[in-house]
């Protein structure tokens, strides 16, 4: 019975497909293979066989955070690109939108993520966060307050913190580019 099964024979559009690899894996391959990283970014793959877990280093060449190298971990799950990649900052840094434990407040990592976005979009977003910290979305409330009330003071705090100094009684990691 079931006549669609014989009807199907005329349909030339049917290809044989064997998805032994997940759509998420292929999408990551596509995202990465088409990346054109700026000079300020470098990626490392702790396990080169594994494209789903990697690290990104951003070394901004201007603004508050110039001179430092900031490390982020990326973890892509099997539901990518419907789920955003999980991104954490691997160092303790003084930044209004980054928490001491690595959580990042970047809209496209949560509420504004869409499957049309790519890994590149996230990398660009992170770089932007380092160039333009945003006092309105605070994760580190003191840093946000410093940025809002006195930019010069904030700049001095960043300068100190990325060299391993303390700000507001909290010691930050030395992230200066070696």
């Amino acid at each position: 019975m079931i006549k669609i099964w014989s009807m199907k024979k005329d349909n030339a559009g049917v290809d044989k497909k064997k998805p032994k690899v997940s759509a998420a894996q292929i999408r990551v391959q596509k995202d990465l293979g088409e990346l054109e990283l700026p000079k300020t970014m470098k990626m490392t793959f702790p396990v080169p066989e594994d494209l789903l877990n990697f690290e990104l280093e951003i070394s901004p060449d201007e603004a508050f955070y110039a001179g430092g190298t900031f490390k982020f971990s990326f973890a892509v799950n099997g539901n990518y690109p419907h789920d955003p990649p999980k991104v954490k900052c691997l160092q303790k840094i003084y930044h209004p939108n980054i928490q001491a434990d690595g959580n990042i407040c970047l809209n496209i990592l949560r509420e504004d993520w869409k499957p049309v976005l790519t890994l590149n979009s996230v990398m660009v977003g992170l770089q932007y966060l380092l160039l333009e910290p945003n006092a309105d979305d605070p994760l580190n409330k003191e840093a946000a307050e410093d940025l809002r009330s006195n930019r010069r003071n904030f700049e001095a705090n960043v300068h100190k913190s990325i060299r391993g100094g303390s700000v507001n009684g909290v010691q930050y990691d030395n992230v200066m580019t070696k």
Partner: protein
């Protein structure tokens, strides 16, 4: 003659029992002018193996409908056990069944209640079964609330299609409900738009901004998200939250409640906590019944060809009275599942990966620009990023036979391809 009697009786009883359905199948249909009432159709309904995925709200309805429509060989697969909160709508379960596997209990209930029907339970994940299992079935009906499980079965069924062998095409009927809304759709893997093609139609619940959760909570949900997203990793380190474990939910509830008190926010309850972290959408029994009825209707029409089947998407809304809208959802060319094209290529195994790459760049119908290659999820060569390109570059000068075996399928991505190309390479 005496021993013929019981079988005659059974036969008479049989045809009386299915009289309503046989009225549809014994005469030319008014709905479908080309329908030919041949006796094999009735036999097919009785013998066709139907798989029901999910034995929850939709699954109970689907199993009941199939059994009462004349299907006799029904299988059901579900990994869940019965919770007391299921009992209001999952009517194949009783209070004494709480804690038992849904699939087993549902199968036993239908087997006992509807004579002559055999429901075979599979108490496991759909991912535990392989292609050989799914190949057994004529039609597969999905009544799931998990997007991930649906994507998996969809990709598996699309992947099983072999154009040389019509039996490998398994119609997938997918039902889904969300409160007063629902949808039923017929997916002919590889032919019509698939589940993945329509992923962008989903209104996925998106999280709240992290900074709101961390610093300016206003809603009880903000406090619950704070407990699960920010506090959980602080307190429990690497241990993953088990949203099915009442102890973990209790911890989240207490943590969220303490935060809510601090910010003077009302409304954090245990069940809201459970609802937020498990992303529970309220289930309406009537919505399940309507969507399940539509799914089984399509299964019957496909199995019997007695009427045109749904082509291919029916949206239902019960918000204002009853409203349905049927349309043909279009197959997406760049769909990661059904948009993947597969090509066979004969190539010498002693040629290098670089030579294969050059061939794909020059081949008039391929004309790739910068292809990247992987095998079974592991990269063979990547054009970018630089660090990966350098690490994998040695593979370019290796003969193909050293990198994979004849007949293996490699995944090729390139900016000129809508998604990817699966390339099956046979060494010559």
């Amino acid at each position: 003659m005496a021993d013929m009697q019981p079988s005659l009786d059974t036969e008479a009883a049989e045809s009386q029992r299915w009289a309503g359905i046989y009225k549809l199948l014994d005469r030319s249909s008014l709905i479908h002018p080309k329908f030919e009432p041949v006796p094999e159709i009735k036999e097919f309904v009785k013998s066709a193996k139907i798989l029901v995925i999910g034995a929850g709200g939709l699954g109970c309805e689907i199993l009941k409908n199939l059994a009462l429509t004349g299907f006799k060989d029904i299988h059901v697969i579900d990994m869940d056990t019965i919770d007391v909160s299921n009992l209001n709508r999952q009517f194949l379960f009783r209070r004494a069944d709480v804690g038992s596997p849904k699939a087993v209990t549902a199968a036993a209930f239908v087997n006992k209640r509807v004579q002559g029907v055999t429901v075979t339970p599979h108490y496991c994940k759909i991912q535990d079964k392989d292609e050989d299992f799914y190949r057994e079935f004529a039609i597969i009906i999905c009544g799931l609330d998990s997007i991930e499980a649906r994507r998996w079965i969809n990709a598996t069924l699309v992947g099983m299609v072999d154009p040389e062998d019509p039996d490998t095409l398994k119609p997938l009927i997918d039902g889904g409900t969300e409160g007063f809304k629902g949808q039923a759709r017929v997916i002919l893997p590889g032919m019509s738009s698939c589940y993945e093609c329509s992923m962008d139609m989903l209104s996925k619940p998106t999280g709240f901004p992290l900074c709101t959760i961390a610093n300016t909570p206003r809603l009880p949900e903000h406090c619950i998200e704070w407990a699960s997203v920010l506090e959980w990793p602080n307190q429990h380190g690497e241990r993953k939250m088990d949203t099915d474990d009442p102890k973990d939910i209790q911890w989240l509830y207490e943590t969220a409640l303490a935060r809510a008190k601090q910010y003077n926010i009302q409304g954090v309850t245990y069940s809201l906590t459970q609802g937020v972290v498990k992303n529970i959408i309220p289930a309406i029994a009537a919505t399940n019944a309507i969507i399940a009825a539509s799914c089984c209707n399509e299964a019957f029409k496909i199995a019997t060809t007695s009427a045109k089947y749904l082509d291919n998407y029916m949206m239902y809304s019960g918000n204002d009275s009853v409203y349905t809208y049927t349309f043909q959802h279009q197959k997406k060319d760049d769909c990661p599942v059904c948009g993947q094209s597969t090509t066979k290529l004969e190539f010498r195994g002693d040629k290098t990966l670089e030579e294969l790459m050059d061939y794909l760049k020059e081949k008039p119908d391929a004309q790739m620009k910068k292809p990247s290659f992987s095998l079974g999820g592991k990269p063979l060569y990547m054009q970018a990023p630089k660090q990966l390109e350098e690490a994998l570059r040695p593979n370019l000068s290796k003969p193909l036979a050293e990198l994979f075996s004849s007949g293996d399928e490699i995944s090729v991505t390139d900016s000129t391809l809508p998604f990817s190309l699966q390339l099956q390479i046979d060494f010559v």
